[in-house]
């Protein structure tokens, strides 16, 4: 019975994927509330009002996350005039939470940094693997997802952003 239940769930899952117009599903990202590093609060839909948004999940102890951050901050700056933003959602637990702001300030990163210490947002957006990149268009539709970072992938990330901005 349990096996049938699992098969049913997988069946529903894959039928949904196959019936979608593209592999990204094109679903609308939920309007989640996010606490930012500066103490203020915003929502994802607020951030996508002016243009596309790249969401990335990271932690201070995640080396691939740190490698890609430099490029994401660059893209945040390069495409700022077109309304593009980067939101880095941090998953450091209380063990290392105190060092997040110190690290971001030290690198002089200008992108938005959200805090998600008990992975509530990561769970809802399937960002449990770090880094996970989610590119959302101005209307809030998910256009591209990517897990992990291999050096050189920054080119693909840049291409996806440019594709969306065209």
């Amino acid at each position: 019975m349990n096996t049938l239940r699992l098969a049913f769930l997988y069946g529903v899952f894959f039928s949904r994927i196959l019936s979608a117009e593209n592999t990204e599903l094109g679903s609308t990202i939920p309007d989640l509330k996010i606490k930012l590093l500066d103490g203020s609060t915003t929502t994802i839909h607020t951030l996508v009002e002016e243009g596309p948004l790249m969401i990335d999940f990271w932690a201070t102890w995640c080396v691939p996350c740190k490698k890609v951050m430099k490029y994401l901050d660059q893209y945040h700056h390069d495409y700022e005039e077109q309304g593009f933003k980067v939101l880095m959602i941090n998953q450091d637990t209380p063990r290392s939470l105190s060092k997040v702001k110190s690290y971001v300030r030290a690198q002089d990163y200008q992108f938005f940094v959200g805090l998600d210490p008990n992975k509530t947002i990561a769970r809802k957006l399937n960002g449990m693997v770090m880094p996970t990149l989610i590119l959302v268009d101005k209307g809030g539709k998910v256009k591209w997802r990517h897990q992990g970072f291999i050096p050189g992938e920054e080119v693909e990330i840049n291409n996806q952003i440019k594709l969306l901005l065209e």
């Binding site: 349990n2 096996t3 239940r5 699992l6 049913f8 769930l9 997988y10 529903v12 899952f13 949904r16 994927i17 592999t23 990204e24 599903l25 679903s27 609308t28 990202i29 939920p30 103490g39 102890w61 995640c62 080396v63 740190k66 490698k67 430099k70 637990t93 209380p94 063990r95 290392s96 939470l97 105190s98 060092k99 702001k101 110190s102 690290y103 300030r105 030290a106 690198q107 002089d108 210490p117 008990n118 992975k119 509530t120 769970r123 809802k124 957006l125 399937n126 960002g127 693997v129 591209w144 997802r145 990517h146 897990q147 992990g148 291999i150 050096p151 050189g152 992938e153 080119v155 693909e156």
Partner: protein, 649 residues
């Protein structure tokens, strides 16, 4: 309930046009030479429909890497948001303050889950927020088996929070009460009530921010089945945590202080030691979260019931490179001195800072790292340096004791006629002891025996990106580690028979000894220094694949030397052992050059941008593995295959 929920979600998914969803699959399979087999499949689905959100996690694991086999819905939650209200039903994970009272998370890697199955209600009005949780938690702890949990603690809990934001200031009042059925090592479980009250506050400014939290805890134990007898007050304690960050330009200084004293009784850190810190309290540790394998294995065994400490970390940029320097010093809350071999007395510190006295089991770590991109962003490098020193245990610790000798005059009368039974050792027929009441002058006694470990580690990594999209990377980690028993003083220990400290030289009390004995060994005997070396070489082609070969080597162990059970072709290939491929090598009796080494490769392939397949073959050394501050001992994985697939949509 679960079937209804499943049916509801599946039907909604198929029929509702304005329902948004996302999903993720994580599947992994492993099998090794020594029967380390696991098969885990998890499907996470999130549903969003206007103000309604749903999450369901289905797991089919038989058996999982760690935990119990499961073929059912593992987690679920439904959330509804109205104008001022947030309502959650199902598996609740909340995080208040910095976790001194409540920090819930589900870490499947270490099999730690302190979530509550119940309801959550939140009311928001302007800067004011009120939260309430009510439900049950079923928490499991590991026993002797490294993969199957043994101890089960069941909590029925209620928690409340009042949070208020006022400009750059925030305040919170928290409360948690739990009735716990605590699994002991043997016998019936203990019924314990925990009451926690907390307060926290934070202040955010342009160049500084501050956070302070205090929690008070009282636990009582129900010892009578009848309600007429009051419950025993079991343990009381408190915890304080403070964090001050300062920023200047591109530099940030993070300072932290902790003092956790949830158990003044200083228990034995087994399941029989209860009533102190509970699983909901996942507090800051004040240790560095390392991403280097060798430094990760040195993680300090944090004591959340009796430990204080400071941590300072400086982060900055220098010539476009990222620079970081960290220092931490932790210790118990009191110094201790041996009165006898089994009796200890505590001595309070003069300050609020941690102690450096060995009897307080101090721990020091410092780590420096420089990393960044150079050569037009083609070369990434990371170079670190870490040192750790820890007093692991003290067996005896008397450092400023005094004692006096007294002489005993004994008079014996012997029966010299009885030589049949006693030979030349004549039978005593009368005796008398006369104590000399004039004692000797008091003299100093010092007797110390403790175990300590000390390590020095250098992790480094370099990646170079070529024009054609290929990346070559190499990483190397080097570690020197000593683990010794140290003893010193002018006394070799306490004699229970004489009720006195035994002097090293009975004729000269000023004569001292100072010995160091290594606790590391291998198949050849004792080893003074453990050398660990880990090297990994990777080749990748973005955005499709990456291939990594890892070689881990050591020369000594804390416990008995493990036996490498099988010689595999990957090891033969790495060492260029032609005999293996020509069939001249006995695979069951591996050659000496492969002993104490673990070789593995991993191929990761991005099927699409959101689907990743990974294949690992080889051996992985077991040992301490830490994630999210939770550590567990993982068994070695010998000559096996691991396949994992992850996808998110």
């Amino acid at each position: 309930m679960k079937k209804i929920l499943l049916f509801f979600m599946a039907c909604s998914l198929l029929m509702a046009s304005d329902l948004d969803m996302n999903a993720a699959i994580n599947a992994s399979y492993g099998n090794s030479y020594d029967f380390y087999t696991f098969s885990e499949n998890r499907l996470d689905m999130n549903f969003f429909y206007n103000d309604l959100q749903g999450w369901i996690q289905y797991e089919y694991s038989n058996p999982p890497d760690v935990g119990f086999p499961l073929n059912d819905i593992r987690k679920f939650r439904v959330e509804y948001m109205a104008e001022n209200f947030l309502f959650k039903l199902g598996d609740i994970y909340e995080f208040w303050g910095r976790g001194l009272l409540l920090n819930q998370f589900d870490d499947q890697v270490t099999n730690f889950d302190n979530g509550t199955r119940g309801l959550y209600l939140e009311y928001n009005r302007g800067p004011l927020s009120l939260s309430h949780i009510n439900g049950n938690s079923n928490m499991w702890g590991m026993g002797a088996d490294l993969r199957v949990p043994f101890f089960n603690n069941i909590h029925s809990m209620t928690a409340n929070r009042l949070h208020y934001d006022w400009n750059s200031l925030s305040f919170g009042l928290t409360h948690l009460q739990s009735n716990e059925e605590h699994d002991k090592m043997s016998g019936p479980s203990a019924k314990v009530n925990h009451k926690l009250k907390g307060i926290y506050g934070s202040w955010l400014a342009g160049n500084a921010d501050l956070f302070v939290e205090y929690v008070d805890k009282v636990s009582t134990e129900k010892i009578s089945l009848f309600g007429t007898i009051p419950n025993d007050s079991l343990k009381t304690g408190h915890g304080i945590y403070g964090n001050l960050n300062l920023y200047l330009g591109n530099w940030g200084l993070s300072t932290e202080y902790k003092r956790y004293a949830f158990d003044a009784a200083h228990g034995d850190l087994t399941a029989n030691d209860y009533g102190n810190q509970i699983e909901y309290q996942q507090t800051p540790t004040l240790g560095k979260e390392h991403n280097s394998t060798l430094l990760g294995r040195l993680t300090h065994n944090y004591n959340f019931n009796d430990e204080r400490g400071v941590q300072v970390e400086l982060n900055g940029s220098l010539l476009g490179l990222s620079v970081s320097a960290q220092y931490a010093h932790l210790s118990r809350n009191e110094n201790w001195q041996s009165v006898t071999s089994y009796d200890w007395e505590e001595r309070a510190f003069d300050s609020y800072l941690p102690s450096s006295d060995n009897s307080a089991l101090p721990y020091w770590e410092n780590y420096q790292e420089i990393s960044g991109y150079t050569l037009n962003d083609r070369l990434y490098f990371k170079l670190g340096r870490g040192t750790n020193k820890e007093i692991l245990k003290t067996t005896r610790y008397l450092h400023d004791g005094t004692q006096m000798d007294r002489s005993i005059n004994a008079f014996w009368a012997y029966d010299t006629t009885d030589t049949v039974l006693f030979g030349t050792e004549y039978q005593i027929i009368d005796s008398a002891e006369v104590f000399d009441t004039s004692f000797s002058d008091p003299y100093n006694v010092e007797s110390k025996l403790w175990q300590q470990s000390k390590a020095f580690t250098i992790p480094m990594e370099v990646n170079y990106i070529f024009d054609n999209g290929y990346t070559f990377g190499i990483g190397f980690q080097y570690q020197e580690r000593k683990k010794v028993n140290k003893s010193m003083g002018n006394s070799t220990g306490y004699s229970a028979g004489d009720s006195a400290w035994t002097m090293f030289n009975p004729d000269d009390y000023s004569e001292t000894y100072n010995t160091t004995t290594t606790q590391l060994s291998n198949s050849d005997g004792s080893v003074d220094t453990q050398y660990n070396r880990l090297i990994y070489v990777s080749i990748s082609k973005a955005p499709k694949w990456s291939f990594t070969i890892t070689h881990d080597w050591t020369n000594a162990y804390d416990a008995s030397t493990p036996i490498d059970p099988y010689y595999n072709p990957l090891e033969a290939l790495i060492y260029g052992d032609l005999k293996y491929f020509t069939g001249d090598r006995d695979n069951i009796d591996p050659p000496s050059f492969i002993q104490n080494r673990w070789v593995s490769f991993e191929l990761a392939y991005n099927v699409t941008s959101s689907q990743r397949l990974s294949v690992m073959y080889g051996s992985i050394q077991g040992g301490l593995f830490c994630s999210n501050g939770i550590c567990r001992l993982i068994p070695p994985f010998n000559d096996g295959l691991k396949i994992s697939y992850s996808a998110s949509f």
